[in-house]
């Protein structure tokens, strides 16, 4: 082609711009998965409103629901108060493993999504089906 001298730097520049865009895209859309102890330790890195995912076990006896659902999640070392206006899924209960998406609001984690994690070997407690 006629302008080989021009093509090489142009391609190089495109590559650099593309790589930069991709990298910043990845960085902007990285969603962190934290356990309560990590969330507490890295509180400064996640200011109020910064979305991350929090995984833990629902502390038995901590669940209250007066229009706003409140409970605590723990990983055994730290526990965090959670509030949410979402309706929790049916399996949500004491001592179950949950994955929450949301952000800090002061000392509280406001969850916009509550997912109950069940592994393949999970068995529903007896009598569970009677609920309806």
């Amino acid at each position: 082609m006629r302008n080989k001298l021009f093509v090489v730097p142009a391609l190089g520049a495109l590559l650099v711009i593309g790589a930069y865009l991709m990298w910043s895209g990845l960085a902007d859309n990285t969603l962190y998965y934290l356990f309560p102890d990590e969330a507490v330790a890295q509180r400064a890195d996640f200011p109020d409103g910064e979305v991350f995912r929090l995984a833990g076990i629902v502390v038995p006896g901590s669940v209250t629901d007066d229009g706003i659902l409140r409970f605590e999640v723990t990983d055994g070392t730290e526990s965090i108060s959670v509030s949410s206006t979402r309706t929790p899924p049916e399996l949500f209960q004491d001592d179950i493993s949950v994955l929450l998406e949301g952000a800090w609001a002061g000392d509280e984690f406001v969850a916009t999504q509550i997912i109950v994690r069940h592994d393949e070997q999970y068995r529903a407690p007896d009598g569970y089906e009677d609920e309806s």
Binding site: N29, T87, E120
Partner: protein, 664 residues
Amino acid sequence: MIGALGQVGVLAALAGAILLVFEGLRGVDARPEGFRRGTRALVGGAVGAMLALELGLLSDDFSIAYIANNSATTTPLVFKVASAWAALEGSIVLWGLVLAGFTWLVHRSYAHRPDRLAEGALAVLGAVAVFFFGVMATIANPFEVCTQIAGASCVASSPWPWASAVAVADGLGPNPLLQNHLLMAVHPPMLYIGYVGLTVPYAYAMSALVLRQPGIEWARRTKHWTLITWTFLTLGILLGAWWSYEVLGWGGYWAWDPVENASLLPWLAATAFIHSSFVQMRRGMLQAWNFVLVISAFSLTILGTFLTRSGTIASVHSFTQSAIGPALLAFLAVVLVASFAVFALRADHVAQSPRLESLFSREGAFLANNLLLTVIAFVVLAGTLFPLFVEAFGDQTVGISRPFFDRFTVPLGLTLILAMGVGPLMPYRVARPAVVWERLRSPVRWGLAAGAAAVLGGLREAWPIITITLAGFVASAIVRHLIVSARKTVGSRHDRLGPAIVGVLRSDHGFWGGQIAHLGVLILAVGIATTGGLSATTTVLLERGESASLAGYDFTYRAGFSRQEPNRDVLGARIEVQREGDFVAIVEPRANVYATQRVPTPGVLSRPSGDLYFTIIRIGGDAVTMDVWWFPYQWMVWLGGLVVVLGGAWSTVMRAATRERVHA
């Protein structure tokens, strides 16, 4: 007994695969009967292994650990059959069977001539089969005997068929997500045919390199293999998306989940290869690039298998952790190193491509197509692997959220659609702007008219408007091209335009199959834009008799219901949907309670203007909480995907028909 039969099958297939490799290594001294025996053993063994697995499943032989843990006496028949590929070890049996089937087809086309290219390909297929049947014989043995049970599941097993077996009473049953919809019986085989089929062009490419026969012969021979494979891969991905929509109930069909990405990546590489191989066959260009694409497509299928089968990434597809992860990773490394080493060693035999005379030409458009598909593949790959790197090099667990993928793939995809409209109208070598403009003028007008109509119809979102404009442009370019081509034959070969159009579609079936696929992509793109850009959602808590509304539809919770089925209990809500006071339909979203977990089945009301989609979050007594979505023109996603598949099938089927006419 059945287990022992299966083990014999696996070993026979392994022996056949080894024989193929050995015969290939003999080079010029290779004997046709060696390849015949190897292929027979491979196919016979693979069929035997699969039959044994199915027999065991159908007869509830719970002395086999895999069957105890993945099937149950109460599992419905069709899911018993499908359980053969519902978990890790069984899915590798299916993989091996499909690979054996492709090897058999390649051997049939080999026809016992001293055809060294096919001999080399058979040897490469054999080498790949050695890995998969080797895995089946060792670390992921589907026929291991259950030696210890705990509760309902088998917790320890032995590979030796003479080990004393214990059997559970009823079996654990397949993962509930996998027995919730009939699609589970079809989606994996389709996807596997697509995945494994990519081994054939790879095998021919490696054979061509090793034998110093680059050039167009291998591309010419693999063209149809790639096309058939690609058609199945497309169908497999489409069925997967449909399954996700109909079964998972999260409110969508594509989540950029690593597993979805794993199936998309080889598809992107195969799509790029189908396009660039035209340029290679027509103009002798892009030879080196085509080797890179074929090696990439095959490697990406192995990478995809690693991602989905190793438990590295959590998802519905990742089965429990096993030793197969490292084995697949090692195999991937071997494939990459060996392939690119051979490629580098033979680089001086790969012919220098003729010069690209002008970027403004058909070749230039193909180049743009390949560049865009490659960049999209890179973006998807980066988004898929980035979390793995972060985890490997840091202590953090991270995920890449959806906006990353959308931000890049939407503009790149739309640019690709633009190239799809302009490319086929450009002549090879050099296009004169005046000629191209003449062909573009009316499609451009139609495109602008489509965009304007959308705006007048009340559409205000930018991306859907751009998509509709581009789709209108490309669709009218395709239709115009078809009519112009058909008119030329009116008067000579046909009397009227209708038969002339069919005649054109049939005679140049390769090109028009591609254009049909392009039309499908356009429909799909509009569907993606409307369901993604114009959807609405709400969460409602309804007492019995209460109503809510979304997107002009009112829906009322009439009653809850429950019924017992052999393998599950079903709880459901009866929702009455109305529009402007008129009854539309009753929709029944359900929650299916299996022994091990609870799986929602969304209730979907499909109408020409869109889908109303209900998922139960919780149901109890007299109230139900549901997520409700409105997806405008959701059917376009499914129709578009099917038309893409149809395009691939058209090329393949019409080619077969033409050949028969020629031979008759």
